[in-house]
């Protein structure tokens, strides 16, 4: 696994390079989801005329989401693991993101691949720090200061201060003394060039400064975020790829920026260097990610081309990493893929040179480098040996495997879940429309019958119809009112759950702080001169996680219970409204599996994560046991109460999303009923006017024609609805099938 026979061979065997027909459709990233997305988009468009105006906002929202939703894939890892190079290879744009021998990417850069028919308005948008943000950063304020202030004086705070000073001075040097005027601005470009990118996202050399009259300026010190837009890429589904500065950067400011600016991605690609794979730092990071992104991590072992013997060493490194991952995360199945982003880029360059029919010096270098890898000098291919049986040195760029792994993960990610939800929501809308149409068809027939009778009985019939509609409306109103109540009830439940969780987490933190402080005091009293005592905060993290996940689960099961009671009742009401209703409209919705509340907050780095060296410093600083214990308690409480708050907020968000999903379906139902009621109401009013008009005898013929047309329209709508439903069912099936395709 993880290897392929290289498609590119030495220059002497040029024919094997072949034309470039990349498997754009079937194997491109996210192909199954893209198929579903396009079908849903087409459906949402065609349903517009079918469902009436009440459905319009819902349809519009669905269309907007389908058009804008992209899968967010963050590329993370330590500095110099080759993240930017990997992204250049994955996007098949060698040389796009600037790379260097020193840590080079300093700005979180999002690459948006939209698959849109129209070109993007701007190719590159750079937001610079606002004045406040810059001041906070440059003065070492905010979280950065918070973190260092709690460090014992003389250790990293000095380092940080020095680094901040360097950063301020550099910004001034590079941008001139009036650089503050640039803050808060947003720079847009219509095309993106490597030069522009280098100016905004690369660290740049210490020496780069504005020359007199030079137009180029280096903005990266004050750039907050970079967004690049591409119309098309080698991906099926719209993707947002996020390049990050590496972690473990000795430049502390950058490390802090990275951690804070990462929004919740759908999938993580964790890039490690084959030369130093999976260090303790990597494992710690994986451990923190583990809670939330259980099966949405891909590990890419980069740089296998630099191993002494790529073919066999890569396999060994991969086996070691897989073993290590199994030990560390017994329940986690992380795809591990070996490859070389650099080889992939070389191959791309060689291909584009071939295509252009020109010799490219870099491509030639690529060819010879590849050849060296494929045919190690110790084993020259024998002349009489058939080419095909040449020693199978399997060096792969690994890009295809990464794409496949990402696609598999996408099919179970939040994106697939949203597509499913949209499909289900559309299905509800269509089903309700179908049912109301059926009811309307019945009333038309009754009307036409009555029309043929005497005026008196016609009036009676109209009255009956009015009464029936009024009853329908009243019941629909009641239904809506009960929906509202349900919503309020849900909201209350979410509120109570959050409140309880806040109290519980607070207690946990305080108890833990108390216990640790006590333990410390005891340890110090027993052995006053003990060199290093260390507080292990992992148990607290576990306790918090357990309490948090437990509370979420409890609240979820409460919601479930309410739904179990609620839905049969709703079904009864709807059945009385629409006697011939027989869909499974009001089944308790299946909340998609695998959706976990977010535990990112638990990953927040706290002072005490800083390791043994920090602890020994901390001990060097304070003397009295009592004071140490008190300080420790404060440290724990300060760090973890903030985390507990964040967890409570996230729990609230998670539960609200859960409620939203239910309410959205309910909205679809009531809006469908509302449309039907209005249509019938309008018609009744017209009828009434006709009956009351003096010349009604002449109108009879017109009336019948009108009713006939109305009935036909109804029937057509019904037919279209059934077709749409069928399509939706197949989309849902396809999504299910894609989700089921696990390795």
């Amino acid at each position: 696994m993880g290897f392929e026979t290289p498609a590119l061979v030495a220059p002497g065997r040029r024919e094997a390079v072949g034309p470039i027909d990349r498997p754009r459709d079937a194997q491109a990233v996210g192909a199954p989801l893209e198929a579903a997305r396009l079908r849903l988009l087409a459906l949402a468009g065609s349903l517009d005329g079918l469902l009436g105006e009440h459905a319009a906002p819902l349809l519009e929202a669905a269309r907007r989401e389908l058009a804008q939703r992209s899968c967010r894939i963050a590329v993370i890892g330590q500095i110099k693991a080759g993240k930017s190079t990997f992204l250049n290879a994955l996007t098949e744009r060698p040389g796009l993101l600037p790379t260097d021998i020193n840590p080079w990417t300093v700005v979180v850069t999002a690459l948006h691949f939209r698959n849109a028919p129209t070109p993007p308005e701007h190719a590159a948008v750079f937001h610079l720090f606002s004045v406040d943000e810059w001041n906070e950063l440059a003065e070492g304020g905010g979280r950065v200061r918070e973190l260092t202030e709690r460090l014992v004086p003389g250790f990293q705070s000095d380092l940080l201060r020095a680094q901040l000073k360097v950063m301020r001075k550099r910004a001034e040097q590079r941008l001139g003394p009036r650089f503050a005027e640039l803050l808060g601005k947003c720079h847009r470009f219509e095309t993106v060039t490597p030069r522009i990118l280098e100016d905004y996202v690369s660290a740049g050399d210490e020496t780069s400064r504005p020359c007199a009259g030079a137009l180029r300026r280096h903005y990266s010190d004050i750039t907050r975020s970079a967004d690049l837009y591409f119309n098309e890429g080698p991906f099926a589904f719209p993707l947002t790829l996020i390049d990050t500065p590496g972690t473990n950067d000795p430049f502390l400011v950058r490390d802090e920026i990275t951690r804070r600016s990462l929004e919740n991605p759908d999938i993580y690609v964790f890039v490690v260097s084959a030369l130093q794979p999976l260090s303790a730092g990597d494992v710690a990071m994986l451990r923190l990610l583990n809670g939330l992104y259980k099966d949405r991590i891909v590990v890419f072992i980069n740089r296998i081309d630099q191993l002494p013997d790529p073919a066999s060493d890569a396999a060994a490194v991969k086996a070691t990493i897989e073993k290590r991952l199994r030990v560390e995360f017994p329940t986690l199945q992380v795809p591990v893929i070996c490859g070389s982003a650099m080889l992939a880029n070389m191959r791309l360059e060689a291909e584009s040179a071939d295509r252009a029919g020109r010799p490219a010096s870099r491509a030639i270098a690529a060819h010879s480098r590849l050849q060296a890898l494929l045919e190690p000098p110790c084993e020259p291919p024998l002349e009489d040996r058939p080419r095909i049986a040449a020693p199978a040195v399997q060096v792969s760029s690994g890009m295809r495997e990464v794409s496949a792994a990402v696609t598999r993960l996408m099919c179970t990610s939040g994106v697939a879940m949203r597509l499913r939800q949209i499909a289900v929501c559309l299905a509800e809308l269509v089903r309700t429309a179908e049912v109301t149409d059926r009811a309307e068809l019945g009333s038309i027939n009754a009307l036409v019958q009555a029309r043929r009778l005497e005026t008196a009985s016609l009036r009676r019939r109209l009255e009956e119809e009015k009464a029936s509609l009024a009853a329908f409306e009243e019941r629909a109103n009641r239904l809506q009112a009960s929906f509202k109540e349900v919503e309020a009830h849900f909201a209350e439940l979410v509120d109570t759950a959050s409140q309880l969780l806040r109290e519980r987490l607070g207690t946990l933190v305080r108890e833990f702080a108390e216990k640790e402080a006590g333990a410390l005091k005891e340890a110090l009293n027993d052995r006053p001169r003990q060199a290093v005592w260390r507080c292990d905060i992992m148990p607290l993290r576990h306790e918090l996680e357990e309490a948090y996940l437990g509370a979420c689960e409890q609240a979820t099961s409460d919601l479930d219970r309410i739904e179990q009671v609620l839905y049969p009742q709703l079904r009864l009401i709807v059945a009385s409204l629409l006697p011939d209703y027989n869909g499974n409209l009001l089944e308790v919705p299946a909340w998609p599996h695998g959706v976990m509340p977010s535990v990112t907050a638990l990953g927040d780095k706290v002072t005490m994560d800083l390791g043994t060296s920090w602890w020994s410093r901390w001990f060097a600083g304070r003397k009295a046991a009592e004071e140490r214990a008190r300080h420790l308690r404060c440290l724990i409480e300060e760090d973890f109460l903030a985390i507990a708050d964040e967890l409570v907020t996230e729990a609230g968000t998670y539960l609200s999303e859960r409620v939203d999903y239910v309410m959205r379906r309910v909205d679809a139902i009531s809006s469908g009923l509302r449309t039907g009621i209005e249509r019938r109401g309008e018609h009744l009013a017209r009828e009434q006017a006709l009956i009351d008009s003096p010349a009604r005898g002449e109108d009879l013929e017109r009336f019948e024609a009108e009713q006939e047309a109305r009935g036909e329209a109804c029937a057509r709508r019904q037919e279209a609805c059934s077709a749409a439903l069928e399509e939706l069912v197949t989309v849902l099936e396809a999504l299910d099938a894609a989700q089921g395709e696990r390795p």
Partner: protein, 231 residues
């Protein structure tokens, strides 16, 4: 400003590599003893290869997947010998295969004796790497740094000088750090010589203040040392 001392090794028959690494005796008249050079760093940073280069011979096995298990002291002996120092300082002879085996808890370090002339003047200590998450290993390594004439921190050129390295280095006692040399290993993996210049410029700025000097090291010809070649 620290001057880079180049350690690029062209072939095994080159001059001794200790020039510039071993400092003159601290006190004149101090007893002549082999100077200890301790090589430390994160795992897979080329420590063993550097030790072999210092010895001028591939004495210790190097591997990307099997990490050095114990601090390994290489010193002079009339004929090749391998002994394990147990907890309690007792030394026992062990077979050469032990050098490549999984660590046993009762072994403190390994002592390799080699009839290599330059070992009369220096004693090289190879160590298990930092960053694998084994705190006991790391404590053992720190112990091995005591009394060293020179402590070489290895950092690989392609991923040089990470925050974790800085943190570990700063956690060492000041007396150890005063004898610190930063060796940038795997220099041959750099794509171009321009890169080397840029890399060193950053290292002088970021790591320079914490070391007495920075050297570069390229290990061509030493990577593929088979285990126990001299056994």
């Amino acid at each position: 400003m620290i001057e880079p001392a180049s350690l690029v090794i062209a072939d095994r028959a080159g001059p001794p590599l200790t020039a510039g690494l071993v400092e003159p005796p601290l006190r004149t008249g101090a007893k002549e003893r082999p100077r200890r050079i301790v090589v430390i760093g994160e795992f897979n940073s080329g420590k063993t290869t550097l030790v072999n280069a210092l010895l001028g011979s591939p004495v210790l096995p190097t591997s990307f997947t099997k990490h050095t298990a114990y601090p390994t002291v290489v010193g002079f002996a009339a004929k090749p010998a391998l002994r394990a120092e147990l907890i309690g300082r007792r030394r026992v002879a062990v077979p050469w295969s032990a050098i490549d085996e999984a660590p046993a808890p009762h072994v403190r370090r390994l002592h390799v004796g080699m009839p290599i002339e330059r070992l009369k003047a220096l004693r090289a200590v190879d160590t298990p790497g930092f960053g694998l998450g084994d705190e006991e290993d790391e404590a053992r390594t720190l112990m091995a740094c005591r009394g060293a004439a020179t402590v070489i921190w290895c950092t690989p050129a392609m991923q040089a000088w990470k925050a974790s390295e800085l943190r570990t280095w700063l956690a060492l006692p000041r007396t150890v750090r005063r004898r610190g040399v930063l060796a940038v290993t795997f220099m041959d993996a750099l794509p171009s010589s321009g890169d080397a210049g840029r890399l060193l410029a950053r290292l002088y700025a970021d790591a320079g203040p914490h070391f007495r000097r920075i050297v570069t090291f390229s290990a061509q010809g030493f990577l593929a040392a088979p285990a126990g070649e001299l056994a």
